[in-house]
């Protein structure tokens, strides 16, 4: 107990400074938490149930569906494809987004405007529309026609729709790190732009890079419409398999639940990494919310 806390009891201080907080808020949180958890609990139960007949809970539990589904070649192939696609997407997004964004801070601010406006485009184009437009675009010229239903076009589509999720956190991180001053200091010390980018700037925006990469990965990993429109069953990603298996009445409903839980675990891991890396900062991951200014709270 310090003297200060004896004079002014902490509880009083908090009470006086804070805005009204009705006691009902924990009730609201609890209700909301239950609603969020319910579908997840249901899916987990379904992925573990032996038989489930008209009762509130399954008759018994088994890990058989997990073992079977994760050994099924079609599922494993789809999973590998989805992961490969998402990793490739993150790599390409980072390669084409990072240098111009860095350059926007140290040399030509207009680049940043161009990129921010482009980052709104995927939101003006619903993903299914974007996929259809790209496919049509590829069909329109003889040179690009072989690409029409190819992996490359699918990858391009994923890059085009997921780069904003990389751009926003990285942009905020660059702004917060004071990249221009870093750049000037590095230049004074005789470093070229490429050296500066890799040795000085990147280590300073690690959190933003991690958040951006994770969000970009998650977007690509869960994306269904682009793969469905462009490659369909010829390059079956995990979401494409999930929807096909869901529609197939003779299929394996418990296996479908298993992969839904699996996807949920991937998203959970991604969010945990982001939360730990960001240490509770209010991350600006939404379009045009113009990070730096909103962070001043």
């Amino acid at each position: 107990m310090t003297a200060d806390s004896v004079l002014v009891r902490p509880a009083e201080r908090v009470e006086r400074r804070s805005l009204p907080r009705p006691a009902g808020r924990w009730l609201l949180f609890a209700a909301w938490g239950a609603l969020i958890a319910l579908p997840m609990v249901a899916t987990v139960l379904y992925s573990l149930a032996t038989v489930w007949r008209n009762k509130a809970f399954p008759d018994g539990y088994t890990l058989r569906w997990w073992a079977d589904t994760l050994r099924e070649p079609r599922v494993v192939d789809a999973l590998v494809r989805s992961v490969a696609l998402a990793v490739a997407t993150v790599a390409i997004v980072a390669t084409i987004t990072l240098p111009p964004l860095y350059w926007a801070y140290v040399r030509n601010p207009r680049l940043r405007t161009i990129m921010q406006v482009s980052a709104l485009l995927p939101f003006a184009l619903p993903f299914v529309v974007l996929a259809y437009g790209m496919k049509n675009l590829a069909q329109s010229t003889g040179a690009t026609r072989p690409l029409e239903a190819s992996f490359l076009l699918l990858l391009a589509g994923h890059v085009a729709l997921s780069f904003p999720f990389f751009l926003w956190p990285v942009d905020s991180a660059l702004a917060a790190a004071g990249v221009r001053q870093l750049h000037e200091a590095a230049e004074t010390a005789g470093a070229g732009p490429v050296t500066t980018l890799f040795r000085v700037v990147l280590p300073n925006i690690r959190t933003g890079l991690l958040t951006g990469s994770m969000l970009c990965f998650a977007t690509s990993f869960g994306e269904y419409s682009i793969a469905k429109v462009i490659t369909g069953s010829s390059f079956e990603t995990l979401p494409v398999w999930q929807v096909a298996a869901l529609a197939d009445t003779r299929g394996n409903p418990n296996g479908v639940a298993v992969m839904a839980v699996f996807t949920f675990l991937v998203m959970f891991a991604v969010s945990t990494v982001i939360a730990v890396a960001g240490r509770g900062e209010v991350a600006s991951i939404v379009p045009g919310a113009t990070g730096p200014a909103l962070r001043r709270r």
Binding site: A42, V106, N108, V128, L130, V159, P239, A257, S271
Partner: protein, 305 residues
């Protein structure tokens, strides 16, 4: 962070101007791959869709696809249902999400971190997996349905594949996004104002009606607009949930029908393009509104800081 604005203020670099290449090449070179990749794909696709929506199956210029989209009852009702669905979802988000965002923002740092992580999970938990989770919860043999039957002895009065079922499903993943969007805005309401209201012997209701509400209103409106745009463009969730020939028709489902099954006549791809352009118009108007509101929001936050 004052560093956020400073790079934009200084237009021309000092020492780095000494280059062997012409200045404009150095200025613009790093963005070329980005523009080539993203700009060409996004802008090119959009333009191509617009062109395609005004042509017949063999090319040429015609407004027939648009006439089909608005003239045929099935398409028209799909458009109306989509707009209604998105408006209801956005309104639910605004009504429930604003207090939620307020309470989350008022949490201690650790609680806020946890809440944000959870919100991130849920807002990323879309598409096929969400449809599956919803079916295992509210489907004909869903967990909640069985639970209610077993414990209460009554049938759950909600059909997952109806309009209100879609509202529940959409709200599930849109509400967290809405809350995440509104969280930073909550800093605009200052604790001092509540003290001022109390000094003037005002109640909590007075505070929200005359101070908190008006300050937050552009943020709420912006959140509504984005939730609307986000909902109306959803394809994977309703498609996975309802399949190709559902009882509840949406713009995106019709679009999927035109693309994947042989319905819609010889110009079905042009009709799909027209529906695509329609979705672009909705989203474009929503985003423009959002940008305008965002400008006001920033001014307000600037004044509050």
């Amino acid at each position: 962070m004052p560093a956020a604005e400073s790079p934009l203020a200084r237009q021309r670099p000092g020492p780095s101007g000494r280059r062997r290449l012409p200045t404009w090449v150095g200025d613009w070179l790093p963005v070329v791959p980005f523009v080539a990749f993203v700009g060409v794909l996004l802008a090119g696709s959009a333009l191509w869709l617009v062109r395609s929506s005004f042509s017949g199956p063999d090319g040429g210029w015609t407004v027939q696809p648009w006439r089909d989209v608005f003239g045929i009852r099935l398409n028209r009702s799909a458009i109306i249902t989509s707009v209604e669905l998105s408006a209801v979802v956005a309104t639910v988000c605004a009504l429930v999400g604003t207090p939620l965002a307020w309470f989350v923002a008022a949490l201690a740092r650790r609680g806020r971190t946890a809440a944000q992580a959870l919100l991130n999970v849920v807002s990323n938990f879309g598409g096929a997996s969400l449809a599956i989770a919803m079916i295992t919860t509210l489907g004909s043999v869903g967990f909640l349905r069985l639970l209610v039957q077993d414990w209460v002895g009554r049938d759950l009065p909600l059909d997952l594949f109806s309009f209100w079922g879609l509202v529940v499903t959409y709200t599930y993943f849109t509400l967290p996004l809405y809350v995440l969007l509104l969280l930073p805005a909550m800093g605009a309401v200052r604790p001092e104002w509540w003290e001022a209201v109390q000094v003037a012997s005002g109640t909590r209701w007075d505070f929200w009606r005359r101070v908190g509400g008006p300050v937050l209103s552009p943020f709420v409106l912006a959140g509504w607009v984005l939730s609307f745009a986000w909902s109306i463009g959803q394809f994977s969730v309703p498609f996975a949930l309802l399949g190709e020939t559902p009882s509840t028709q949406l713009i995106t489902i019709r679009l999927g029908n035109f693309l994947f099954s042989a319905t819609g006549g010889s110009n079905r791809f042009n009709r799909a393009a027209a529906l695509g352009v329609l979705l672009m118009v909705f989203a474009g108007v929503a985003l423009t509104t959002y940008r305008m509101l965002a400008a006001r929001m920033l001014k307000r936050l600037g004044a509050a800081a």
